[in-house]
Protein backbone atom coordinates (compact mmCIF):
# COMPACT_ATOMS: atom_id res chain seq x y z
CA UNK A 1 0.00 0.00 0.00
CA UNK A 2 1.34 3.41 -0.85
CA UNK A 3 2.24 5.70 1.98
CA UNK A 4 0.43 9.00 2.41
CA UNK A 5 1.02 12.01 4.60
CA UNK A 6 -1.03 14.89 5.95
CA UNK A 7 0.39 18.40 5.92
CA UNK A 8 -0.38 21.89 7.18
CA UNK A 9 0.49 24.49 4.54
CA UNK A 10 1.24 28.13 5.24
CA UNK A 11 0.87 29.73 1.84
CA UNK A 12 1.56 33.35 0.86
CA UNK A 13 -1.57 34.88 -0.67
CA UNK A 14 -1.47 38.24 -2.41
CA UNK A 15 -4.26 39.45 -4.70
CA UNK A 16 -2.14 41.68 -6.88
CA UNK A 17 1.19 43.48 -7.22
CA UNK A 18 0.03 46.46 -5.17
CA UNK A 19 -2.06 44.58 -2.62
CA UNK A 20 -0.86 43.65 0.82
CA UNK A 21 -0.12 39.96 1.13
CA UNK A 22 -0.67 37.58 4.04
CA UNK A 23 -0.17 33.93 4.96
CA UNK A 24 -3.13 31.58 4.86
CA UNK A 25 -3.13 28.17 6.46
CA UNK A 26 -4.54 25.14 4.66
CA UNK A 27 -4.65 21.45 5.48
CA UNK A 28 -4.11 18.75 2.88
CA UNK A 29 -4.48 15.08 3.65
CA UNK A 30 -3.69 11.73 2.07
CA UNK A 31 -0.86 13.10 -0.07
CA UNK A 32 1.07 10.25 -1.66
CA UNK A 33 4.77 10.47 -0.84
CA UNK A 34 5.41 9.53 -4.47
CA UNK A 35 3.72 12.67 -5.77
CA UNK A 36 5.65 15.82 -6.61
CA UNK A 37 5.38 19.09 -4.73
CA UNK A 38 3.44 20.70 -7.56
CA UNK A 39 1.01 17.76 -7.69
CA UNK A 40 0.41 18.41 -3.99
CA UNK A 41 -0.26 22.06 -4.89
CA UNK A 42 -2.72 20.85 -7.57
CA UNK A 43 -4.53 18.78 -4.95
CA UNK A 44 -4.68 21.84 -2.69
CA UNK A 45 -6.14 23.90 -5.52
CA UNK A 46 -8.75 21.24 -6.37
CA UNK A 47 -9.71 21.33 -2.72
CA UNK A 48 -9.96 25.15 -2.73
CA UNK A 49 -12.05 25.14 -5.91
CA UNK A 50 -14.45 22.60 -4.44
CA UNK A 51 -14.81 24.91 -1.43
CA UNK A 52 -15.54 27.81 -3.82
CA UNK A 53 -12.32 29.54 -2.83
CA UNK A 54 -9.77 31.03 -5.19
CA UNK A 55 -6.95 28.60 -6.05
CA UNK A 56 -3.34 29.49 -5.22
CA UNK A 57 -1.51 30.98 -8.20
CA UNK A 58 1.93 29.47 -8.82
CA UNK A 59 4.24 29.21 -11.81
CA UNK A 60 4.80 25.87 -13.54
CA UNK A 61 5.21 24.51 -17.03
CA UNK A 62 7.23 21.48 -18.08
CA UNK A 63 7.25 19.75 -14.67
CA UNK A 64 10.42 17.89 -15.52
CA UNK A 65 13.00 20.41 -14.34
CA UNK A 66 14.11 21.90 -17.64
CA UNK A 67 11.95 24.94 -18.32
CA UNK A 68 12.80 27.11 -15.30
CA UNK A 69 9.22 28.16 -14.74
CA UNK A 70 8.52 26.76 -11.27
CA UNK A 71 9.80 28.61 -8.25
CA UNK A 72 8.58 28.60 -4.60
CA UNK A 73 10.57 29.24 -1.45
CA UNK A 74 9.74 26.21 0.67
CA UNK A 75 10.66 25.96 4.36
CA UNK A 76 13.60 28.33 4.14
CA UNK A 77 15.06 27.18 0.83
CA UNK A 78 14.40 27.96 -2.83
CA UNK A 79 13.00 24.84 -4.53
CA UNK A 80 12.58 23.21 -1.13
CA UNK A 81 14.56 20.85 1.07
CA UNK A 82 16.12 18.65 -1.64
CA UNK A 83 19.39 19.52 -3.41
CA UNK A 84 19.88 20.07 -7.14
CA UNK A 85 16.22 19.79 -8.09
CA UNK A 86 13.52 22.24 -9.07
CA UNK A 87 10.24 22.41 -7.16
CA UNK A 88 8.48 20.28 -9.77
CA UNK A 89 11.07 17.51 -9.22
CA UNK A 90 10.72 17.70 -5.44
CA UNK A 91 9.10 14.57 -4.03
CA UNK A 92 6.68 14.65 -1.12
CA UNK A 93 8.73 11.92 0.54
CA UNK A 94 11.07 14.74 1.59
CA UNK A 95 8.37 15.82 4.07
CA UNK A 96 7.13 14.21 7.25
CA UNK A 97 3.57 13.40 8.19
CA UNK A 98 2.04 16.29 10.13
CA UNK A 99 4.74 18.76 9.11
CA UNK A 100 3.97 22.45 8.58
CA UNK A 101 5.25 23.63 5.21
CA UNK A 102 5.75 27.36 4.58
CA UNK A 103 5.48 28.33 0.93
CA UNK A 104 6.59 31.81 -0.15
CA UNK A 105 7.32 33.52 -3.44
CA UNK A 106 10.89 34.57 -4.41
CA UNK A 107 11.71 37.73 -2.46
CA UNK A 108 13.74 40.32 -4.29
CA UNK A 109 13.12 43.91 -5.28
CA UNK A 110 13.80 43.00 -8.92
CA UNK A 111 11.24 40.18 -8.78
CA UNK A 112 7.97 41.86 -7.67
CA UNK A 113 5.06 39.60 -6.75
CA UNK A 114 2.34 39.46 -9.42
CA UNK A 115 -0.09 37.27 -7.53
CA UNK A 116 0.22 34.80 -4.66
CA UNK A 117 3.38 32.79 -5.37
CA UNK A 118 4.03 34.15 -8.86
CA UNK A 119 6.77 36.75 -9.23
CA UNK A 120 7.68 38.77 -12.28
CA UNK A 121 10.96 37.36 -13.57
CA UNK A 122 10.94 39.30 -16.84
CA UNK A 123 14.06 41.07 -15.54
CA UNK A 124 15.97 37.91 -16.53
CA UNK A 125 14.50 38.10 -20.04
CA UNK A 126 15.60 41.72 -20.30
CA UNK A 127 19.14 40.77 -19.30
CA UNK A 128 19.20 38.04 -21.97
CA UNK A 129 17.78 40.48 -24.51
CA UNK A 130 20.62 42.89 -23.69
CA UNK A 131 23.23 40.51 -25.11
CA UNK A 132 22.81 36.88 -24.12
CA UNK A 133 22.85 35.60 -27.67
CA UNK A 134 25.08 35.19 -30.74
CA UNK A 135 24.21 37.68 -33.43
CA UNK A 136 26.93 36.94 -35.98
CA UNK A 137 25.50 35.69 -39.21
CA UNK A 138 27.08 32.29 -39.53
CA UNK A 139 25.57 31.27 -42.84
CA UNK A 140 25.08 27.57 -43.33
CA UNK A 141 25.93 25.07 -40.62
CA UNK A 142 29.71 24.55 -40.68
CA UNK A 143 31.28 21.15 -40.42
CA UNK A 144 31.42 20.10 -36.79
CA UNK A 145 35.14 19.39 -36.95
CA UNK A 146 36.08 22.64 -38.71
CA UNK A 147 36.62 24.47 -35.40
CA UNK A 148 38.33 22.28 -32.80
CA UNK A 149 37.11 23.00 -29.25
CA UNK A 150 38.86 21.53 -26.21
CA UNK A 151 36.67 19.04 -24.38
CA UNK A 152 37.23 20.88 -21.09
CA UNK A 153 35.86 24.11 -22.55
CA UNK A 154 32.94 22.36 -24.19
CA UNK A 155 32.05 20.67 -20.91
CA UNK A 156 32.31 23.86 -18.92
CA UNK A 157 30.21 25.68 -21.47
CA UNK A 158 27.56 22.97 -21.33
CA UNK A 159 27.56 23.12 -17.52
CA UNK A 160 26.98 26.88 -17.65
CA UNK A 161 24.34 26.45 -20.35
CA UNK A 162 22.33 24.18 -18.06
CA UNK A 163 21.09 27.32 -16.24
CA UNK A 164 17.32 27.38 -16.69
CA UNK A 165 16.88 30.94 -15.42
CA UNK A 166 14.52 30.02 -12.59
CA UNK A 167 15.81 32.77 -10.30
CA UNK A 168 16.60 30.59 -7.28
CA UNK A 169 20.05 32.27 -7.12
CA UNK A 170 18.46 35.69 -6.67
CA UNK A 171 15.94 34.28 -4.18
CA UNK A 172 18.71 32.72 -2.08
CA UNK A 173 21.08 35.71 -2.24
CA UNK A 174 21.22 37.98 0.78
CA UNK A 175 22.07 40.78 -1.64
CA UNK A 176 19.41 40.05 -4.25
CA UNK A 177 22.20 39.66 -6.78
CA UNK A 178 21.75 38.02 -10.18
CA UNK A 179 25.45 37.43 -10.75
CA UNK A 180 25.22 33.63 -10.90
CA UNK A 181 22.56 33.82 -13.60
CA UNK A 182 24.37 36.49 -15.63
CA UNK A 183 27.71 34.72 -15.23
CA UNK A 184 26.23 31.44 -16.49
CA UNK A 185 24.75 33.18 -19.51
CA UNK A 186 27.98 35.02 -20.28
CA UNK A 187 30.13 31.92 -19.65
CA UNK A 188 28.38 29.39 -21.84
CA UNK A 189 28.86 31.67 -24.84
CA UNK A 190 32.30 33.07 -23.92
CA UNK A 191 33.80 29.57 -23.75
CA UNK A 192 32.94 28.71 -27.34
CA UNK A 193 34.44 30.30 -30.46
CA UNK A 194 31.08 31.32 -31.90
CA UNK A 195 30.15 33.25 -28.79
CA UNK A 196 33.67 34.50 -28.09
CA UNK A 197 33.44 37.06 -30.93
CA UNK A 198 30.91 39.20 -29.08
CA UNK A 199 32.25 38.38 -25.61
CA UNK A 200 33.27 41.89 -24.57
CA UNK A 201 30.15 43.63 -25.80
CA UNK A 202 27.96 40.95 -24.24
CA UNK A 203 29.55 41.14 -20.78
CA UNK A 204 29.23 44.93 -20.71
CA UNK A 205 25.65 45.01 -21.97
CA UNK A 206 24.37 42.27 -19.68
CA UNK A 207 26.03 43.66 -16.55
CA UNK A 208 24.74 47.16 -17.38
CA UNK A 209 21.21 45.78 -17.73
CA UNK A 210 21.57 43.78 -14.51
CA UNK A 211 22.61 46.93 -12.61
CA UNK A 212 19.87 49.00 -14.20
CA UNK A 213 17.18 46.52 -13.13
CA UNK A 214 18.18 46.88 -9.48
CA UNK A 215 19.88 43.57 -8.74
CA UNK A 216 22.38 43.68 -5.88
CA UNK A 217 26.16 43.39 -5.78
CA UNK A 218 27.69 39.95 -5.38
CA UNK A 219 29.63 39.30 -2.15
CA UNK A 220 30.67 35.76 -3.12
CA UNK A 221 28.66 34.30 -0.27
CA UNK A 222 27.80 31.25 -2.35
CA UNK A 223 24.19 30.62 -1.27
CA UNK A 224 23.23 30.81 -4.97
CA UNK A 225 25.56 27.95 -5.86
CA UNK A 226 24.15 25.78 -3.06
CA UNK A 227 20.53 26.43 -4.02
CA UNK A 228 20.94 26.31 -7.80
CA UNK A 229 18.91 23.36 -9.10
CA UNK A 230 21.39 23.00 -11.95
CA UNK A 231 24.58 23.23 -9.90
CA UNK A 232 25.94 26.31 -11.68
CA UNK A 233 29.43 26.91 -10.28
CA UNK A 234 30.53 30.06 -8.48
CA UNK A 235 33.64 30.06 -10.67
CA UNK A 236 31.43 31.38 -13.48
CA UNK A 237 31.15 34.61 -11.49
CA UNK A 238 34.94 34.96 -11.57
CA UNK A 239 34.80 34.49 -15.34
CA UNK A 240 32.11 37.16 -15.65
CA UNK A 241 34.23 39.56 -13.56
CA UNK A 242 37.22 38.77 -15.79
CA UNK A 243 35.22 39.23 -19.00
CA UNK A 244 33.65 42.45 -17.80
CA UNK A 245 36.80 44.06 -16.40
CA UNK A 246 38.96 43.21 -19.40
CA UNK A 247 36.23 44.50 -21.72
CA UNK A 248 36.12 47.75 -19.75
CA UNK A 249 39.89 48.07 -19.78
CA UNK A 250 39.91 47.92 -23.57
CA UNK A 251 37.47 50.86 -23.87
Amino acid sequence: MEKTINLTLKVWRQNGPREKGRFETYKVSNISIDSSFLEMMDILNEQLISENKEPVAFDHDCREGICGMCSLYINGRPHGPDDDVTTCQLHMRKFQDGQTVTIEPWRSAAFPVIKDLIVNRSAFDQIIAAGGYVSVSTGGVPDANAIPIPKVDADESMDAASCIGCGACVAACKNGSAMLFVSAKVSHLALLPQGRVEGARRAKAMVAKMDELGFGNCTNTGACEVECPKNISLSNIARLNREFLSAKLKD
Partner: protein, 236 residues
Protein backbone atom coordinates in the same frame (compact mmCIF):
# COMPACT_ATOMS: atom_id res chain seq x y z
CA UNK B 1 36.73 52.61 -18.79
CA UNK B 2 35.30 56.01 -17.89
CA UNK B 3 32.16 54.80 -16.16
CA UNK B 4 33.70 51.74 -14.53
CA UNK B 5 32.88 52.95 -11.03
CA UNK B 6 29.20 53.36 -11.82
CA UNK B 7 28.91 49.61 -12.42
CA UNK B 8 28.43 46.97 -9.74
CA UNK B 9 31.57 45.04 -10.73
CA UNK B 10 33.58 48.28 -10.88
CA UNK B 11 32.62 49.20 -7.32
CA UNK B 12 33.42 45.70 -6.18
CA UNK B 13 36.79 45.97 -7.90
CA UNK B 14 37.53 48.93 -5.61
CA UNK B 15 36.55 46.83 -2.57
CA UNK B 16 38.74 44.01 -3.80
CA UNK B 17 41.84 46.05 -4.66
CA UNK B 18 41.66 48.18 -1.50
CA UNK B 19 41.10 45.06 0.61
CA UNK B 20 44.02 43.17 -0.89
CA UNK B 21 46.21 46.27 -0.45
CA UNK B 22 45.20 46.44 3.21
CA UNK B 23 46.22 42.78 3.61
CA UNK B 24 49.71 43.74 2.38
CA UNK B 25 49.79 46.48 5.01
CA UNK B 26 48.72 43.98 7.67
CA UNK B 27 51.66 41.75 6.80
CA UNK B 28 54.11 44.67 7.16
CA UNK B 29 52.41 45.62 10.44
CA UNK B 30 52.60 42.04 11.74
CA UNK B 31 56.25 41.77 10.73
CA UNK B 32 57.13 44.84 12.80
CA UNK B 33 54.95 43.70 15.70
CA UNK B 34 56.83 40.41 15.76
CA UNK B 35 59.88 42.47 16.87
CA UNK B 36 58.07 42.87 20.20
CA UNK B 37 58.76 39.22 20.95
CA UNK B 38 62.03 38.58 19.14
CA UNK B 39 64.65 40.59 21.08
CA UNK B 40 65.71 37.50 23.00
CA UNK B 41 66.09 35.43 19.84
CA UNK B 42 68.56 37.85 18.23
CA UNK B 43 70.35 38.78 21.44
CA UNK B 44 69.12 42.35 21.78
CA UNK B 45 68.03 44.02 24.97
CA UNK B 46 64.31 44.06 25.57
CA UNK B 47 62.54 46.54 23.25
CA UNK B 48 65.55 47.41 21.10
CA UNK B 49 64.31 45.70 17.96
CA UNK B 50 60.83 47.20 18.19
CA UNK B 51 62.14 50.69 18.92
CA UNK B 52 64.45 50.44 15.91
CA UNK B 53 61.47 49.33 13.81
CA UNK B 54 59.32 52.22 15.01
CA UNK B 55 62.21 54.63 14.36
CA UNK B 56 62.55 53.26 10.81
CA UNK B 57 58.82 53.55 10.11
CA UNK B 58 58.77 57.09 11.50
CA UNK B 59 61.76 58.38 9.53
CA UNK B 60 61.72 56.48 6.22
CA UNK B 61 60.56 58.73 3.33
CA UNK B 62 58.92 55.80 1.52
CA UNK B 63 56.70 55.18 4.53
CA UNK B 64 55.74 58.87 4.53
CA UNK B 65 54.53 58.48 0.95
CA UNK B 66 52.69 55.22 1.54
CA UNK B 67 50.98 56.43 4.73
CA UNK B 68 48.36 58.65 2.99
CA UNK B 69 47.85 55.92 0.37
CA UNK B 70 47.12 53.55 3.21
CA UNK B 71 44.62 55.99 4.71
CA UNK B 72 42.92 56.28 1.31
CA UNK B 73 42.82 52.48 1.13
CA UNK B 74 40.97 52.32 4.45
CA UNK B 75 38.57 55.12 3.51
CA UNK B 76 37.74 53.64 0.09
CA UNK B 77 37.23 50.18 1.58
CA UNK B 78 34.89 51.50 4.29
CA UNK B 79 32.91 53.95 2.15
CA UNK B 80 32.35 51.50 -0.68
CA UNK B 81 31.36 48.76 1.74
CA UNK B 82 28.62 51.06 3.00
CA UNK B 83 27.51 52.07 -0.50
CA UNK B 84 27.37 48.45 -1.67
CA UNK B 85 25.56 47.29 1.47
CA UNK B 86 22.87 49.95 1.12
CA UNK B 87 22.41 48.97 -2.55
CA UNK B 88 22.22 45.31 -1.60
CA UNK B 89 19.63 45.91 1.09
CA UNK B 90 17.57 47.82 -1.44
CA UNK B 91 17.96 45.04 -4.03
CA UNK B 92 16.98 42.45 -1.46
CA UNK B 93 13.71 44.26 -0.76
CA UNK B 94 11.91 44.93 2.52
CA UNK B 95 10.14 41.57 2.79
CA UNK B 96 12.07 38.92 4.72
CA UNK B 97 11.37 35.22 4.34
CA UNK B 98 8.98 34.04 7.05
CA UNK B 99 10.53 30.57 6.96
CA UNK B 100 14.03 32.04 7.35
CA UNK B 101 17.14 31.00 5.46
CA UNK B 102 18.05 27.34 5.78
CA UNK B 103 20.67 27.15 3.05
CA UNK B 104 23.47 24.99 4.43
CA UNK B 105 27.20 25.01 3.82
CA UNK B 106 27.82 28.75 3.67
CA UNK B 107 30.77 30.31 5.51
CA UNK B 108 29.81 32.33 8.57
CA UNK B 109 32.21 35.12 7.60
CA UNK B 110 30.85 35.55 4.07
CA UNK B 111 27.42 36.46 5.42
CA UNK B 112 28.70 38.80 8.12
CA UNK B 113 31.44 40.80 6.41
CA UNK B 114 29.84 44.14 7.32
CA UNK B 115 29.40 43.22 11.00
CA UNK B 116 32.97 41.91 11.16
CA UNK B 117 34.11 45.10 9.42
CA UNK B 118 32.31 47.25 12.00
CA UNK B 119 33.98 45.29 14.83
CA UNK B 120 37.36 45.78 13.17
CA UNK B 121 36.70 49.50 12.57
CA UNK B 122 35.71 50.01 16.22
CA UNK B 123 38.82 48.18 17.32
CA UNK B 124 40.85 50.27 14.88
CA UNK B 125 39.60 53.51 16.46
CA UNK B 126 40.77 52.37 19.91
CA UNK B 127 44.01 51.06 18.43
CA UNK B 128 44.80 54.39 16.74
CA UNK B 129 44.17 56.29 19.98
CA UNK B 130 46.28 53.78 21.94
CA UNK B 131 49.36 53.93 19.77
CA UNK B 132 49.31 55.81 16.49
CA UNK B 133 48.14 59.16 17.90
CA UNK B 134 50.76 58.97 20.65
CA UNK B 135 53.67 57.84 18.49
CA UNK B 136 52.83 60.54 15.93
CA UNK B 137 52.59 63.19 18.65
CA UNK B 138 48.85 63.94 18.38
CA UNK B 139 48.32 62.83 21.97
CA UNK B 140 50.86 63.76 24.62
CA UNK B 141 52.56 60.91 26.46
CA UNK B 142 55.64 60.62 28.61
CA UNK B 143 58.09 59.23 26.12
CA UNK B 144 61.35 58.09 27.57
CA UNK B 145 64.37 58.42 25.28
CA UNK B 146 66.23 55.21 24.58
CA UNK B 147 69.19 54.07 22.54
CA UNK B 148 68.96 51.20 20.09
CA UNK B 149 71.09 49.81 17.28
CA UNK B 150 69.97 51.21 13.93
CA UNK B 151 71.66 50.54 10.58
CA UNK B 152 74.94 49.67 12.29
CA UNK B 153 74.96 52.74 14.60
CA UNK B 154 73.37 53.46 17.92
CA UNK B 155 70.36 55.73 17.39
CA UNK B 156 68.27 57.62 19.90
CA UNK B 157 64.50 57.77 19.87
CA UNK B 158 61.29 57.51 21.79
CA UNK B 159 60.75 54.42 23.88
CA UNK B 160 57.73 53.12 21.93
CA UNK B 161 58.29 49.66 23.34
CA UNK B 162 57.46 50.78 26.88
CA UNK B 163 54.23 52.34 25.64
CA UNK B 164 53.19 49.08 23.94
CA UNK B 165 54.30 46.98 26.89
CA UNK B 166 52.43 49.17 29.39
CA UNK B 167 49.29 49.16 27.24
CA UNK B 168 49.29 45.38 27.01
CA UNK B 169 49.56 45.07 30.79
CA UNK B 170 45.88 46.08 31.02
CA UNK B 171 43.72 42.96 30.72
CA UNK B 172 40.60 44.59 29.15
CA UNK B 173 42.78 46.06 26.41
CA UNK B 174 44.38 42.67 25.69
CA UNK B 175 40.90 41.11 25.48
CA UNK B 176 39.79 43.88 23.13
CA UNK B 177 42.82 43.27 20.92
CA UNK B 178 42.17 39.54 20.82
CA UNK B 179 38.53 40.15 19.86
CA UNK B 180 39.67 42.55 17.13
CA UNK B 181 42.19 39.98 15.86
CA UNK B 182 39.63 37.19 15.74
CA UNK B 183 37.17 39.42 13.86
CA UNK B 184 39.99 40.29 11.47
CA UNK B 185 40.80 36.61 10.94
CA UNK B 186 37.19 35.82 10.03
CA UNK B 187 37.00 38.90 7.79
CA UNK B 188 40.13 37.80 5.93
CA UNK B 189 39.06 34.16 5.65
CA UNK B 190 36.36 35.31 3.26
CA UNK B 191 37.87 38.60 2.07
CA UNK B 192 41.06 37.14 0.67
CA UNK B 193 39.62 34.68 -1.84
CA UNK B 194 36.60 36.88 -2.50
CA UNK B 195 38.98 39.69 -3.50
CA UNK B 196 40.68 37.45 -6.02
CA UNK B 197 37.32 36.20 -7.28
CA UNK B 198 36.24 39.80 -7.92
CA UNK B 199 39.30 40.72 -9.97
CA UNK B 200 38.59 37.56 -11.97
CA UNK B 201 41.54 35.50 -10.78
CA UNK B 202 39.61 32.35 -10.09
CA UNK B 203 38.35 29.15 -11.64
CA UNK B 204 37.52 25.65 -10.50
CA UNK B 205 41.19 24.80 -9.96
CA UNK B 206 42.07 27.98 -8.11
CA UNK B 207 38.95 28.23 -5.95
CA UNK B 208 40.11 25.63 -3.37
CA UNK B 209 43.68 26.95 -3.55
CA UNK B 210 42.67 30.55 -2.92
CA UNK B 211 40.35 29.49 -0.10
CA UNK B 212 43.18 27.52 1.47
CA UNK B 213 45.67 30.40 1.12
CA UNK B 214 42.99 32.75 2.48
CA UNK B 215 42.58 30.62 5.59
CA UNK B 216 46.34 30.53 6.11
CA UNK B 217 46.53 34.32 5.70
CA UNK B 218 43.63 34.74 8.14
CA UNK B 219 45.22 32.50 10.77
CA UNK B 220 48.68 34.05 10.33
CA UNK B 221 47.47 37.64 10.61
CA UNK B 222 44.63 37.25 13.11
CA UNK B 223 46.49 34.67 15.18
CA UNK B 224 49.75 36.61 14.96
CA UNK B 225 48.33 39.84 16.34
CA UNK B 226 46.43 38.02 19.07
CA UNK B 227 49.43 35.95 20.15
CA UNK B 228 51.66 39.04 20.34
CA UNK B 229 49.17 40.89 22.55
CA UNK B 230 48.71 37.86 24.83
CA UNK B 231 52.46 37.16 25.02
CA UNK B 232 53.14 40.78 25.94
CA UNK B 233 50.58 40.51 28.73
CA UNK B 234 51.85 37.23 30.08
CA UNK B 235 55.60 37.12 29.56
CA UNK B 236 57.05 40.64 29.09
Amino acid sequence: MSNLLTTSIGRKLLMSVSGLFLILFLFVHLFLNSFLLLDGVFGFERGQMFNAGVHFMGTNPLIKIIEPVLAIGFIVHIIYSLILTVQNMKARGPQAYASGKKTTGIEFASQNMLVLGIVIASFLAVHIINFYMKMKGFIAWEAGEVEFPFLGNMAKGEDAYSLVNATFKVLPIVILYVVGSVALAFHLSHGFWSGFQTIGWNNKTWMPRLKCIGNIVAILIGGGFAVIAIAQYLFF
